[in-house]
Symmetry: C2
Subunit: 215 residues, 2 copies
DNA sequence: TAGATTGTTAATCGATTAACAATC
DNA sequence: TAGATTGTTAATCGATTAACAATC
């Protein structure tokens, strides 16, 4: 990683898509790809793809292109997918359970150690071997189990309180926030938001303004 | 809406956030806000906020700022939230159920008429008054009920097949896709993706490369 | 009126695209 | 070697920020 000039957010947000397509190519047994072919798959221009990748190093070879397996592994490393992460989920409703069940996450090295909730009716239940515990036990659990990532799937009213517990634990380095609220956290904690409302409203915008965008 | 020069994607993606904060201000009974105050809330610059809003018209007043209620309503209209939408959910696992249960969507005018699945064990169940039906009945259901939005919460293997049913129905105008796959659809259908993997991988990137970004 | 804040133009900054020499 | 395709520089395009006259 180049410490001098940090890579821009627009580039970083494209990396997971490259990674996904390279994984699919790998599964198909394809072991070589050019920026032009990758352009057809991803919809980004070949020029942009080469620019993006060269932020991290010269992974290609003139006249040949890129080795799929090599590039996939390199991108995985760049994205931090070469290690495992312990996570907990705060909020054990449908969304929390959906995240806990999502096979793709475990495959990528994200391990859900426990769910938490404040509803006594569901505390003690198990979701795919993972127990739902009382949220009052969460801070200690995080400390005891070296949990690095906290996932918030509570209603928005409780999101900041949960974030505060994460902060207080002094173990959580990243928060994956599904609540439609902007969290206040110290500088050393990374927050990634999944704001479903905002996504749906964008869809709705394009439905309404369709005529302006397609002809 | 200005038919001449269409508004850029970067602007559109900020609108839901404005809308959310204005809604919160409205609930607090605040009826006036300046671009500078809105800047403090949203994190966008005051200049950018004024630029963004002026894509759609002059909603403010010199020396005063913006009327919260008026701006909130205008943004709702711009985002197409001034009407209701009928939706169906294909894939009735945890994620589909989570979406069906999400109170905020119904409040915003998105009505889930039915869930669908191919698993006989869950067909017939009800999620909050909404029945899970056999996916084989989906196309006809969409036609019979004027469904405009199709939501895909199936595994990625089935996502394109579901999209094809949506297309075939000739009623669906927008697809909200939660499967980690890029769908192929005709030009007249809008697709909005929620790629949870990509979001999580971005978080993971920043955890790994934290040192380059803070200090 | 005086003060505040918009709407809008101009300047800057950053991201994308084009082009091509390097080289496998 | 000839052809293909990268890595990288330069040109273009678009988005953000700064500045300020207009005006409530």
């Amino acid at each position: 990683m180049d410490r001098e000039n940090k890579v821009s957010m627009t580039v970083i947000r494209r990396l997971p898509k490259y990674y996904r397509y390279l994984g699919e190519l790998l599964n198909k047994g394809i072991n070589r790809i050019s920026s032009q072919e990758l352009s057809k798959l991803t919809g980004f221009t070949a020029s942009q793809i080469r620019q993006d990748l060269n932020n991290f190093g010269g992974f290609g070879q003139q006249g040949y292109g890129y080795n799929v397996e090599e590039l996939h592994r390199q991108l995985g490393k760049i994205l931090g997918l070469d290690k495992d992460y312990n996570t907990v989920i705060a909020g054990s409703g449908n969304l929390g359970q959906a995240v806990a069940n999502y096979k793709g996450f475990e495959d990528a090295g994200f391990k859900v150690l426990s769910l938490f909730d404040k509803n006594p009716k569901i505390i003690g239940l198990k979701i795919r071997d993972v127990e739902i515990r009382d949220v009052d036990l969460m801070e200690q659990f995080i400390k005891d189990n070296d949990v690095e990532i906290g996932i918030i799937t509570t209603p928005k009213e409780n999101a900041q309180d949960i974030a505060n517990i994460f902060i207080k634990s002094e173990k959580i380095r990243g928060i994956w926030n599904f609540a439609p609220a902007d969290l206040t956290v110290p500088d050393n904690i990374v927050v990634e938001n999944v704001h479903l409302n905002e996504s749906l409203f964008t869809l709705s915008y394009f439905l309404k303004n369709y005529d302006n965008y397609n002809i």
